[in-house]
């Protein structure tokens, strides 16, 4: 983690976005929307196991599982329809940036990370709010899951 508590795999994505001009950033977000993995078999078709992030403009659902071991690695699962590429893109960034990391590292990620992608003007703050909400819910689910143990 760097000084800002941003995990290396997420910091790399932020750097990629920052290195680009605005129109290219949108293209990169589109690529993230395409690379978002489908739900695994044990979650697919079971929407009640996922939490809806109502702050997103289009339906997005997420859930996570915390693995055994002292590191508490977190697996994050997202579900969003193909006709919501912006929302899928946000989810794709968070998946690639956070998935598999220890719970403590994800909890330490600054809440304003979405604003560091340099998308605020191209996407607009209103739309970007959905991504902040996803991050907040991921953190809250981790906190809740740990408290329940």
């Amino acid at each position: 983690m760097n000084a800002q508590n941003i995990p290396a795999q997420l910091a790399e994505i932020i750097d990629d976005f920052q290195a680009m001009e605005e129109p290219e950033r949108l293209q990169l977000l589109l690529e993230f929307s395409r690379s978002l993995p489908d739900l695994p078999e044990h979650l697919a078709g079971q929407p009640e196991l996922l939490e809806q992030v109502v702050e997103c403009q289009s339906p997005l659902f997420l859930t996570l599982e915390i693995g055994d071991g002292p590191e508490e690695p977190v697996e994050i699962y997202f579900s969003a329809p193909p006709e919501a590429p912006t929302t899928r893109g946000f989810a794709g960034v968070l998946h690639e940036g956070l998935n598999g990391l220890p719970a403590a590292e994800i909890l330490a990620v600054p809440d304003d990370v979405p604003e560091q992608l340099g998308l605020t003007r191209a996407i607009t703050p209103l739309r970007l709010r959905g991504m902040s909400a996803m991050l907040a819910r991921i953190k809250r689910q981790i906190t809740d899951a740990r408290a329940a143990v």
């Binding site: 589109l30 702050e55 403009q57 339906p59």
Partner: protein
């Protein structure tokens, strides 16, 4: 209308309105005699004629997916996609369609206003649209944002702007062609036209002056009653109070759309807006929602499909009204009384 440079668009309307010829024949005729008309600002893409559209007040404001598929290559026609999701166009769009984003292209972020005439001219010119171009707009979510773009085009008096009935979803549901190829239109000259808000845009003081005449609140029932301040499943946008403008009738915007995203037929629309909401011919109406997008859809229905001449969209809508100081609201499911005159 102050925007018309010559009388030919009126002639065009007269001819198509009189249904002298069917759309195919008319288009063919227009093509074969195009040379004779060069130099005139006459739309050469004739309006579609069909039974459903013919019942509307202004059938020339709509095209069907069939019509668009048959006319995609028409000269002087530009297809515009306008969506809520800013990346949806990039995943595939109608061949040749250009993208205009409601937020980043049409809004001026610094003034909380629409762009000015110069920015509009630059935007449309860059999309290959001239003042005479027939523009067909379509988009996601039953044309919600497409209707908003059409309304902004109307602020600038763009004469021939139409919606694709059923929008993006219907085009896709019918298995029609999509492409990810982004067209690179040659830049053309679009004149700098001053935006004229008065006729179709209402501001907060206009709403106070309007009290006593019909207001239509097009938000969800929960937003109308004040239970919540955003659409179900939508981001909280910072409205302090929940409720509605006193005396406004509740008609959620999507009631005007059928399951396939097309507009309901005239009879069904009359039953909703005249029967239930109590509008009468000749009424002056103001529609509003949260930021003016959903009410653009209703504005289109009232103005172009039902023929109400004087309809304004209050784009400040609930984000302004719900937060403004010394501005009354009503909570609950009843419209409530017209407030006493304010000094």
């Amino acid at each position: 209308m102050q925007f018309r440079g010559n009388g030919l668009p009126s002639l065009w309307r007269m001819m198509t309105g009189a249904k002298v010829v069917s759309s195919c024949l008319w288009l063919g005729w227009a093509e074969t005699t195009l040379d004779e008309w060069k130099g005139f600002a006459m739309p050469v893409v004739a309006a579609e004629q069909n039974e459903k559209f013919a019942a509307y007040a202004h059938p020339e404001r709509l095209v069907s997916t069939d019509w668009l598929a048959a006319n995609l290559d028409a000269d002087s026609l530009v297809v515009v996609e306008s969506n809520e999701d800013i990346l949806l166009y990039e995943t595939g769009h109608i061949p040749g369609a250009v993208k205009i984003d409601w937020h980043t292209d049409l809004n001026d972020a610094l003034t909380r206003d629409y762009i000015d005439g110069e920015a509009f001219a630059a935007l449309l010119g860059s999309k290959g649209i001239t003042r005479e171009t027939t523009v067909v707009i379509y988009g996601d979510k039953s044309n919600w944002w497409a209707a908003y773009a059409l309304w902004v085009f109307t602020l600038f008096g763009h004469e021939d702007v139409r919606l694709l009935d059923g929008g993006r979803d219907k085009w896709i549901a019918e298995g029609r062609e999509l492409t990810t190829e982004t067209p690179k239109p040659a830049a053309v000259e679009y004149p700098v036209v001053e935006r004229r808000d008065e006729a179709i845009r209402a501001f907060l003081p206009d709403v106070f002056e309007h009290f006593g005449k019909p207001l239509i609140d097009v938000r969800s029932p929960e937003e109308y009653s004040g239970e919540r301040t955003t659409m179900p499943a939508y981001p909280e946008e910072g409205t302090l109070r929940g409720g509605h403008i006193p005396s406004a009738a509740s008609v959620p915007w999507a009631r005007a759309a059928a399951a396939d995203g097309t507009f309901r037929n005239r009879e069904a629309l009359e039953a909703i807006y005249k029967g239930e909401a109590g509008l009468s011919d000749g009424d002056e109406v103001i529609a509003y929602c949260r930021i003016g997008e959903r009410s653009s859809h209703t504005w289109f229905v009232l103005k172009h499909l039902l023929g109400f001449e004087n309809v304004r969209n209050y784009d400040g809508s609930w984000t302004e009204w719900g937060n403004a100081v010394r501005v009354p609201i009503v909570k609950g499911t009843e419209p409530g009384e017209v407030p006493a005159a304010r000094r």
